[in-house]
């Protein structure tokens, strides 16, 4: 197993190098000039050139890439071209809101979707099954900003249970944190609940027809044990894959939810950086996202071995 993990980590290095090169070139070939963004509306061509010079953007691309790579190798992601804030500080500021949103969303999702999927499969063809499928279709079909605004109207404006917007660190107390993260997490969870409930149902339906499930029932095991210990564990591999990639997707940014609830997460940072052509920030964010995908995929693959003893590395 350790050898497998080491191999996977080594294999990710060339992936990251290709990503870095690709992102660097793509950004430089996309129209946009950070100097024009910094200078504002009144700048003359000479003033723009002066700013470009001071940012090092007039250097040949190869020189710029070598400088950036050198910085990266020494652990320096540089500074934002626009605000001059260190890139790592910017990302650090946004990491907690994003991680909080992703974790709470996933908790709500797992708490609701797995039982829903298991129930639907267990009562296949019944009214319960149809209800779960209907909820899934609904959750998947309504755009997240619509769900968000509906929740805000009901829970924040009409009932005044939660604030309309914002984020507070968990360090400032549980309720300030939870009251602000719950609605966005619930909003985002509607999509993942729909997805994972359907996935669980499909995987469970496959497994429930297997001989070993019939054998388990014939042995007189309770339905709870049959469903959760025998069937669900065997159905877990595809569910875990979706949970893992969904989690990675949330960490790399969920812009609409972050905007509707004013959560200062990585998604908003990414969009802002792209709109401002803030090259060092975009480059660092994409490298970070790629790294997260590599790690989460690795964790998913490792978890397969724990869920399904037939899988060995």
């Amino acid at each position: 197993m350790l050898a497998y993990i080491a191999r996977r980590i080594l294999a990710s290095i060339p992936v990251m190098i290709v990503v870095a090169l690709f992102v660097f070139l793509l950004l430089r070939l996309t129209p946009g000039d950070p100097a024009a963004i910094i200078a504002g509306d009144m700048a003359t061509p000479a003033q723009l050139d002066q700013i470009r010079q001071s940012l090092g953007l007039n250097e040949p691309l190869v020189t710029q890439f070598v400088t950036w790579s050198g910085q990266l190798l020494s652990g320096d992601f540089g500074r934002s071209l626009i605000s001059k804030t260190p890139v790592l500080r910017l990302i650090g500021q946004r990491l907690e809101p994003t991680l909080s949103l992703a974790i709470v969303t996933m908790l709500i999702t797992l708490l609701l979707s797995i039982p829903m999927g298991v129930l639907a499969a267990w009562r296949h063809g019944s009214l319960t099954d149809s209800a779960v499928m209907a909820i899934s279709v609904l959750g998947f079909s309504i755009p997240v900003f619509v769900t968000g605004y509906i929740f805000i109207q009901i829970f924040a404006i009409d009932l005044r249970i939660f604030p309309v917007q914002g984020f507070k660190s968990i360090g400032e107390g549980f309720w300030p944190f939870f009251s602000r993260i719950f609605l966005p997490a619930l909003t985002l969870a509607t999509i993942y609940i729909a997805l994972i409930a359907r996935m669980t149902r499909a995987a469970m339906l496959d497994v429930l027809g297997e001989d070993y499930v019939r054998t388990a029932r014939a042995k007189g095991l309770s339905e709870r044990v049959v469903l959760f210990r025998h069937a669900l564990r065997n159905a877990a591999v595809p569910i875990l894959t979706v949970v893992g990639t969904g989690f990675a997707l949330m960490i790399s940014g969920v812009v609409v939810t972050e905007s509707v609830f004013n959560i200062p997460g990585l998604g908003r940072l990414t969009v802002d950086a792209i709109l401002a052509r803030d090259y060092p920030v975009i480059q660092a964010l994409i490298l970070l996202t790629s790294g997260i995908y590599v790690v989460i995929n690795l964790l998913i693959d490792i978890s397969y071995a724990f869920m399904d003893p037939r899988i060995r590395y």
Binding site: I82, K84, A156, R160, L275
Partner: protein
């Protein structure tokens, strides 16, 4: 089932009931999130990212400048320069200005403000500001005399010195410590020490999320009552936090729910949601408002031909564009003045073609006479800027009705600002036309107005009119010694600018602000400032 049965049977003791009640009250208190009575939470028109108010003309950075820096002079509501950090004397020949810093000026680190700081700041400003660049061509020397006094000597008359130094927008004369002001003008500063009424809390700054300012306890305001950027800047709150909310509906919900105190710009179509709330005040704080405009590129065909530019102006009209952009007559008006209506130099000189528009038939005839060959006009449309996006759509249709071939190209604003800097032919990434807008103080005189510069490819603003006659007239304006002469020259400049179609003003509009009733004392002026504001319990 058993859990539900148990729950239904549960009868809390008085102590437990009290504890539950206390928890609910406490929790609901968190939910309502009452802010500290001495903190103003404001959603400004955009998030601040660039912190150097000299390198950029972005309005949000200018607003930040007014928080933490002081200006040498202020401008009052009668549009007259007034002393702020410094008073002045002018020699009889009008060539020597002696400025004296007032007592009590201190940097946020406690050091005294000196004339060397003011001189270094003015020199950096002179490298960035268009009007100041023009002024410095007439400057012989600018030197400190002693710690509190400095002298500006002109080699030739330039009578607009005080108005330029007092201007409230564009690049105001924010004064920085000499060590900071010596930063090259093309490089952003990284030391945010000011001497203004608020201090910038750098540790709490999150670009794109929030900026925090705390009261500068050492600030000594002037004794006069506040009037625009002149007079006493008395701070009545401990902190001001600018919260960034990218979604305007969220901001509207937040101010309705009392989570923020001030919303700088309220979209017209969301006004009913706010006007119905008795706890809110919706009002226009900057009655002068904005001028919106179209700029044509003089370098590329077909707008290198003045007759075709004139046909384009005749084809356009202010009302259809304003109707699409604003829609509510209360917040828009046609205006034939390039200097903005209601300003000292406002005039209708030469504005007949745009004020009578749209006149498609007349424009068609003009195009025919000019021999227009059907060259498509590349019109850039920034889809992500609501205050501009509808204008090119209407403009394109009006131009098409007059017989122009229009290639409207949607793009994001950052692509537009990059592309408009290109002086290349259209086939190599150039352009023909775009729309943008300004606040009126940025265009209210021939010196301030960035478009009224005939310096061609080297010095003019995007579109690059090569118009020496215009520049000669501007020089005369700057040298005029009395207001009447200035007004006459300003009218001549405008008539000329309309004749050659330097740019096309397509109307004016205002944007209402919304504040909680608990805020009082917001000043009505072109720049949102937070001195003089008081906050009562909500």
């Amino acid at each position: 089932m058993s859990f539900l049965a148990n729950a239904a049977a549960f009868r809390p003791s008085r102590l437990v009931r009290s504890a539950l009640l206390a928890s609910v009250v406490a929790l609901s208190g968190f939910a309502a999130a009452p802010v500290d009575a001495q903190e103003i939470r404001a959603v400004m028109h955009s998030g601040i990212r660039v912190l150097d108010p000299v390198i950029t003309t972005a309005h949000i950075t200018r607003n930040h400048g007014y928080m933490i820096y002081d200006t040498l002079l202020g401008m009052d509501e009668n549009l007259k320069p007034q002393p702020q950090m410094a008073s002045w004397e002018v020699s009889d020949d009008g060539l020597t200005y002696t400025f004296t810093l007032r007592d009590g000026l201190k940097w946020h680190d406690g050091a005294p403000v000196t004339s060397a700081d003011a001189v270094a700041s003015l020199k950096r400003w002179g490298e960035r500001d268009g009007g100041a660049q023009m002024m410095f061509k007439s400057v012989e020397s600018l030197e400190p005399k002693d710690d509190k006094t400095f002298v500006l000597k002109l080699k030739e008359p330039f009578s607009y010195v005080l108005e330029l130094m007092a201007k409230p927008s564009g690049l105001p004369t924010f004064i920085m410590p000499e060590r900071v002001a010596k930063t090259p003008a093309g490089e952003s500063i990284t030391d945010y020490t000011g001497s203004g009424p608020f201090k910038f809390v750098e540790a709490e700054f999150e670009p794109g999320v929030r900026a925090v300012y705390e009261k500068n306890e050492d600030y000594v305001p002037r004794d006069e009552p506040p009037s625009w950027t002149a007079g006493g800047k008395v701070v009545n709150v401990d902190r001001v936090t600018w919260v960034v909310m990218p979604d305007i509906q969220t901001a509207v919900n937040a101010i309705n729910g009392g989570e923020i105190d001030f919303l700088e710009q309220t979209p017209i179509d969301l006004l009913p949601l706010l006007q119905a709330n008795p706890d809110l005040t919706v009002e226009v704080l900057s009655p002068l408002g904005y001028q919106t405009m179209a700029r044509l590129n003089w370098l590329n065909p077909p707008f290198d031909d003045v007759k075709i530019r004139q046909a384009a102006m005749t084809a356009l009209g202010q009302e259809p564009i304003l109707a699409a952009l604003v829609g509510n007559p209360e917040y828009m008006k046609s205006c034939g003045s390039m200097y903005g209506c209601g300003t000292p130099f406002a005039t209708d000189a030469g504005s007949e073609p745009i004020m009578s528009g749209p006149q498609p038939e007349k424009a068609k005839a003009m195009l025919e006479e000019a021999g227009y060959d059907g060259t498509p006009i590349v019109l850039m449309q920034p889809t992500d800027v609501p205050s501009i996006a509808p204008q090119p759509v209407v403009g394109a249709q009006l131009l098409r009705q007059a017989g122009f071939s229009v290639d409207m190209q949607p793009m994001d604003w950052q692509t537009l600002v990059t592309r408009r800097a290109s002086q290349a032919p259209v086939k190599d990434g150039g352009w023909n036309m775009f729309f943008t807008n300004w606040i009126i103080p940025e265009v209210w005189s021939p010196i301030n107005n960035p478009m009224l510069n005939g310096g061609g490819k080297e010095a003019a603003w995007f579109g690059w009119p090569d118009d020496p006659e215009l520049d000669e007239m501007r020089t005369k304006f700057a040298q005029a010694s009395d207001d009447e002469t200035r007004k006459e020259i300003a009218a001549d400049i405008q008539a000329h600018a309309f004749e050659v179609v330097n740019y096309i003003p397509v109307g004016e509009y205002t944007i209402p602000s919304t504040s909680r009733k608990s805020l009082s004392g917001m000043l009505k002026m072109p720049v949102p400032v937070f001195w003089n504001v008081e906050k009562a319990a909500d």
